[in-house]
Symmetry: C2
Subunit: 263 residues, 2 copies
């Protein structure tokens, strides 16, 4: 069991209940990373499902749970031959923190009938840049769990040269040896800095809703995260992330709707 497997473990209590322990190592400076929380939730949902893979996950982020014990409640809505539907809730002190609708199915490793080109080219890994380690007082513990190498212009905002467009692109892998799997993908789709930073936004940008689809099981190696946004208006922005595996295959697609930080 890898460190990440352990941090996302869900222990079955009964048919509809799982105990989890939220790991302080996935903090983004106080709140825990939304992708990490989805990974934890999906462990419980997939365990309770007749199918192997979380093909579609929608999550509403009601509250920001703290590290420590929490509980997953899983309700089966319909289990079909092709897909099973579940509702799931992450609770802490009996208070709902994240509400999810998850569709599970079993994906087969087949050649796609059609696949679009990546939405944006990526420079080679050796031309991408690592971010400096965050200050301990920032509480950004998640940076120690993942390794990311950024397409340089998309982190221009760090040196006050934002591109003026919502975007973020990076290579991504777990810091400890761990092949990507659907749970790593759940983390990956919410791992980029908010795309709004590149358009001049600042401050915590809380996710309100995030939906992502698992499209194929990823090959070992680096993932590529291609993040963009279409509209920033009235304090709301959207963030799309397309995830490609090391063979270039499209493995996950996400869109979240989030609030622009107050700077």
């Amino acid at each position: 069991m890898t460190k990440f497997d352990e941090a996302t473990q869900a222990i079955r209590v009964d048919e509809t209940t799982y105990d989890v322990c939220l790991d302080p190592g996935y903090s983004i400076g106080g709140p825990l990373n939304g992708g990490y929380l989805m990974a934890v939730a999906l462990r419980a949902v997939v365990d309770a499902s007749p199918h192997a893979h979380p093909v579609s996950t929608s999550a509403q982020f009601l509250k920001a749970p703290r590290p420590g014990p929490a509980r997953m409640r899983v309700e089966q809505l319909k289990a079909g031959k092709t897909a099973a539907f579940a509702r799931a809730t992450l609770l802490q002190d009996d208070v709902p923190q994240i509400e999810l609708l998850v569709t599970t199915a079993t994906l087969n490793d087949v050649e796609p009938d059609y696949s679009a080109e990546p939405p944006h080219p990526m420079p080679p890994l050796e031309e991408c840049v690592r971010l400096p380690a965050p200050k301990p007082e920032s509480g950004m513990t998640i940076n120690a769990q993942v390794e990311m190498a950024f397409d340089p212009p998309t982190i221009g905002w760090l040196s006050r040269r934002p591109t003026g467009r919502p975007e973020a692109r990076a290579y991504f892998r777990m810091a400890e040896p761990q092949d990507p799997d659907p749970y790593v993908l759940a983390l990956a789709v919410d791992a980029l800095p908010p795309v709004v930073f590149s358009a001049g936004g600042k401050g915590w940008a809380p996710t309100v809703e995030l939906t992502w689809h698992l499209r194929a099981l990823p090959a070992p190696g680096w993932l590529t995260l291609l993040g963009s946004g279409r509209l920033i208006a009235d304090g709301w922005f959207d963030e799309e992330v397309e995830v490609r595996d090391s063979t270039g295959r499209l493995v996950a697609q996400s869109r979240q709707i989030a609030r622009v930080g107050r700077g």
Copy 2:
């Protein structure tokens, strides 16, 4: 009250229950259109919310409800100042048909801070084509409720000239005079023929999950629906629709994951 308002009406029974009557006029040849069903569900959710607009809607399509009486169950998860979260279920004969997570908020009419260009240009309305009226025996009653004018290549599949890419683009408005509003947008994001038809797919393409975000209140006039897909693999495809209003403003974004028909 317009014909569409009437067809999507939700009558409050108590705090968590609404009676609805599913209109046979929104059939896609047996099953009812998913966008229509979302519009009905959203009437109940918004009525029960302290906020005015359904900014984010995720729907799992468990079953295909029939025209006739049905019931909405709405559960408030959290009502905050910026956004309220609800879970909702459309039931028929006490069996869940559609499961939704809806986030409501109140949108303000402000200039966007950033807006991307449309993902694809559209020819002028007069160069777009209407589809011939469906045969009565097809049961496609929805075609009488909406008016659509298609970007010609994207319906080439009708004359056996698919473009080879998942795509569909059309101007859209209600057949009866009705200004677009969030409920019309719920219908619009699922109104195009499945994008997979343009890539050679055939047959009913059932939506498994659809998430859409309301980004602004639409101006009166025609809507433009720009539909595309990124991957067709293992019997699954994604369909993205970006909706622009008559002023060109991005008003809604959707993505659904669906099954490829068997032809």
